[in-house]
């Protein structure tokens, strides 16, 4: 859509007519929807796009077929993918050379091409249509379905999906309290992790008397393994803008800031384009749509600091300072940005607002548990068959998400745990998988809902190593302002490193627990208070695994490098000596009879031999470095001290 064609909308009636026009416009014969968010582009979506454009022109289809470069379709592992509407045919992992066939057969002749379809690698079943795919079965895609037919740079496309009709409704009511009542009644809670009721937050900000008030959209999605907000910002930027305009109207704020982490360049670009379109159309700026209400929006790029996701640190960062959190109270709704009342909500929270206004609070709250309403987007990733961005009704069990939507473990693997909430969350074992996704239930179980990262772990993941990974992350991201977080995280890393080296003692586990409690109680902000969660939940549910590292000096998942070594299976080895040639430490030697073997004294467990051994042989395997430590040999025995020995 040509952006310069956007005319300023001068009244509410004009907006209504526009929405009616675009929503009622006859659909083209076919819509070809190509996923072109960051994941899609990394997998070659733009090459597909140019191949498609060329083909459409060649077959003179450009008028009848509309090619849309949309945002995320959700089945991220199959990018780039193509959906052809109205049938909903789905072609995953497309390559440019396959494009002519798609155009000729499916677009011209209306035939489906089974060879290009998604085939379940395990059952061999061929899936023709997108909503037949297992990943989509149990989802409730209130927010995500909009992405499928929406060009994120087109305001008209957003109108076609009833976009800005919520704003229209709100401005016609001319009653701010009514908006807040409605959001409160819907039961919407903050989607960034803490789950604070959105309606209450807005009311507190509205009640605070002040000349200036601000809104902030928190798009500093720092949890490793989570990308729901990137998905929304890249795929449907207008919904976030509309949510914020409504929020500004309801709370009395005249200015909003969208803070996006700089690791998401495409999200920044799309939000900026959406912002400019809205200014041109008179949906942002002075006297919006001819009413007395004015609202300005600015985009701020983050600069790489996990702590700036914490709201008081975020405020500091928006102000152009170092992202240091500060003591609360006063809460931002009373004294936030530039010392003024400020409402901070997460991207997904803002995106939910127009939906709730449009459909009503009863519609929204019909789904969920007593305290957690509506849907939540999760990024389902890790060791699971199907990975992607999924949206589910709150209250659904973890098992339904992992086993049914995610399809369970890949062949030959066994799921061990699921990690939610990123570095602030914890791991839940399979035995807890019947737990509902609900803010309170997850917290009671020692993890948090978080912003929606859900990482599935199988038996090849070591929980000690994972805890160490998160704590190292916390050390490097701790801002250093308060002692419990700054020193506590470093101390935990020290202890965990010792354990992964096989030099831990049982007392270390108690020490970890104690440290964790102190950090939870004594840290200044959410980062420090939750930083110990990965360790504490690990100790709570996987204590045995920690103890095995300490007592038997073994890593059951064969991950901790100092505790493993490699060996060569003679049954499978073809004596190509690739491993021997590639070993950087000369640790692979030849027996007199010509068989290669690993000299464990020299082996540094780099794993190069495993990688170089041709896949079809698969003769190199991992094994514990230390055999059973028997009872009669005490742990401080010279021979069993682990790799410390010389």
């Amino acid at each position: 859509m040509n952006k310069s064609s956007l005319k300023k909308i001068n009244s509410l009636t004009e907006l209504q007519k526009l929405i009616e026009y675009w929503a009622g416009r006859p659909q083209p014969e076919k819509i070809v929807s190509l996923s072109a968010a960051s994941c899609g582009r990394a997998s070659g979506a733009l090459q597909i796009a140019s191949a498609l454009e060329k083909c459409l022109e060649e077959f003179k289809l450009d008028g009848r077929v509309e090619l849309k470069l949309t945002g995320c379709h959700g089945f991220c592992q199959l990018e780039p993918d193509l959906i052809i509407f109205p049938e909903g045919y789905f072609y995953p992992n497309l390559r440019p050379e396959q494009v002519p066939a798609v155009v000729e057969k499916t677009l011209l002749a209306g035939e489906f091409i089974p060879e290009l379809a998604f085939t379940d690698p395990h059952s061999g079943k061929v899936y023709r249509r997108i909503f037949e795919l297992p990943l989509y079965q149990k989802q409730l895609r209130w927010l995500l379905d909009a992405h499928l037919k929406l060009d994120p740079s087109s305001l008209e496309d957003y109108f076609a999906q009833q976009g800005f009709s919520a704003l229209l409704k709100v401005l016609r009511w001319d009653n701010q309290e009514r908006v807040i009542d409605l959001i409160t009644a819907s039961g919407l809670r903050g989607r960034g992790g803490a789950g604070f009721p959105t309606g209450l937050k807005w009311r507190l900000a509205r009640k605070t008397e002040s000349q200036e008030k601000y809104l902030i959209c928190n798009g500093d999605e720092g949890d490793p393994g989570a990308y729901m907000d990137r998905g929304l910002l890249e795929s449907n930027p207008f919904s976030v803008v509309e949510g914020m305009i409504i929020g500004g109207y309801a709370t009395g704020a005249r200015k909003g800031f969208i803070y996006i982490r700089q690791e998401y360049p495409l999200a920044v670009a799309r939000m900026e384009a959406a912002r400019q379109s809205c200014y041109q159309a008179g949906l942002l700026g002075e006297k919006i749509l001819g009413t007395e209400f004015s609202f300005d929006l600015e985009i701020i790029r983050g600069a790489g600091a996990f702590v700036s996701g914490e709201e008081t640190a975020l405020i500091a960062s928006v102000e152009g300072r170092r992202a240091f959190p500060r003591q609360r109270p006063p809460f931002p709704v009373v004294s936030g940005l530039f010392g003024q009342p400020t409402v901070i909500n997460n991207v997904e929270t803002w995106a939910n607002v127009p939906l709730i206004i449009r459909q009503g609070p009863e519609w929204f709250s019909q789904v969920g548990t007593t305290t957690s309403k509506g849907t939540k987007i999760f990024s389902l990733v890790g060791q699971v068959k199907f990975t992607g961005l999924v949206e589910v009704p709150l209250g659904i069990s973890i098992s339904e998400v992992v086993q049914e939507i995610g399809g369970g473990a890949p062949k030959g693997r066994k799921i061990k745990a699921v990690q939610t909430g990123g570095p602030s969350g914890g791991c839940l074992p399979v035995s807890m998988f019947n737990l509902p996704l609900d803010y309170e239930a997850l917290q009671a179980a020692g993890t948090i809902m978080g912003s929606g990262g859900m990482i599935v772990l199988d038996d090849s993941t070591c929980l000690v190593d994972l805890a160490l990974y998160f704590l190292r992350f916390a050390v490097s991201e701790s801002c250093g302002k308060c002692v419990p977080c700054r020193l506590g995280t470093a101390q935990m890393v020290d202890i965990l490193e010792r354990i992964t080296r096989g030099e831990g003692q049982l007392a270390d586990l108690e020490q970890l627990n104690k440290l964790g409690r102190v950090m939870q109680k004594g840290s200044l902000c959410g980062l420090g208070r939750t930083a110990a969660n990965p360790v504490l939940s690990g100790l709570r549910y996987f204590r045995e695994e920690f103890e095995t590292h300490v007592v038997r000096k073994q890593c059951p998942a064969l991950v901790c490098r100092k505790l493993i070594t490699y060996a060569i299976d003679r049954e499978k080895c073809r004596r190509c000596y690739l491993c021997l040639k590639n070993c950087p430490f000369g640790a692979i030697k030849k027996e007199p009879d010509g068989w290669p073997y690993v000299d464990e004294e020299l082996c540094q467990s780099c794993g190069l031999c495993l990688n170089t051994c041709p896949k079809e042989f698969g003769a190199v395997f991992k094994k514990p470095r230390y055999r059973e430590v028997s009872e009669e040999r005490p742990m401080d025995d010279e021979n069993n001290k682990g790799p410390g020995r010389k």
């Binding site: 393994g225 690791e263 300072r321 170092r322 060791q383 992350f473």
Partner: protein, 170 residues
């Protein structure tokens, strides 16, 4: 660098029409970094004047955030994602392999000026993990073999002849 001006002059030029409110500081630092690839030391004093805050404050912000750098960058930048999904799919081994291949193609300890190899916290493409960003382009499902191909391509562009020699040796 798309200008022949000295950093000081170019930054002054950029600042000419830039708002003076403090909260534009980080966005401006992004602008300078996009221009020079790093933050030249002149930035501190000039911005201190422009935004009316102490030089120490500017330096503090410039060094607090991990995406700003105050030293000249290498010609190529490789960022290996260390997000959780990448971690459990072997991101650490990928990082090591990059280092090993760089040693091989550029000579040991010889690549630090030409290539910078960094860890990055989650690039948000977890479903196609492990991922790495090579000169701004995202590489998905990175394997040791792919690492080798990436490094080979980088070094090839750097010096075509030495590459041919290495290829012949293999």
């Amino acid at each position: 660098m798309n200008s022949n001006l000295k950093p000081q002059e170019r930054i002054r030029q950029l600042l000419r029409h830039y708002p003076r409110e403090r909260h534009h500081l980080i966005n401006f630092l992004h602008l300078v970094q996009a221009e020079f690839g790093y933050l030249p030391e002149e930035v501190v004093e000039l911005l201190s004047e422009h935004f009316s805050v102490s030089p120490a404050e500017i330096f503090g912000v410039a060094t607090f955030y991990s995406s700003f750098r105050i030293d000249r960058p290498a010609e190529h930048e490789i960022q290996v994602c260390q997000g959780t999904a990448c971690h459990v799919r072997g991101a650490e081994a990928i990082l090591e392999e990059f280092s090993r291949q760089l040693d091989k193609y550029y000579g040991e300890q010889n690549w630090s000026g030409k290539v910078s190899l960094k860890k990055v916290n989650c690039l948000g493409c977890c479903a196609i993990s492990p991922v790495a960003m090579v000169d701004g382009l995202l590489e998905s499902r990175v394997t040791p073999a792919k690492v080798k191909a990436i490094v080979r391509k980088l070094s090839k562009n750097d010096s075509p002849e030495s590459q041919r020699e290495r290829d012949e040796q293999e």
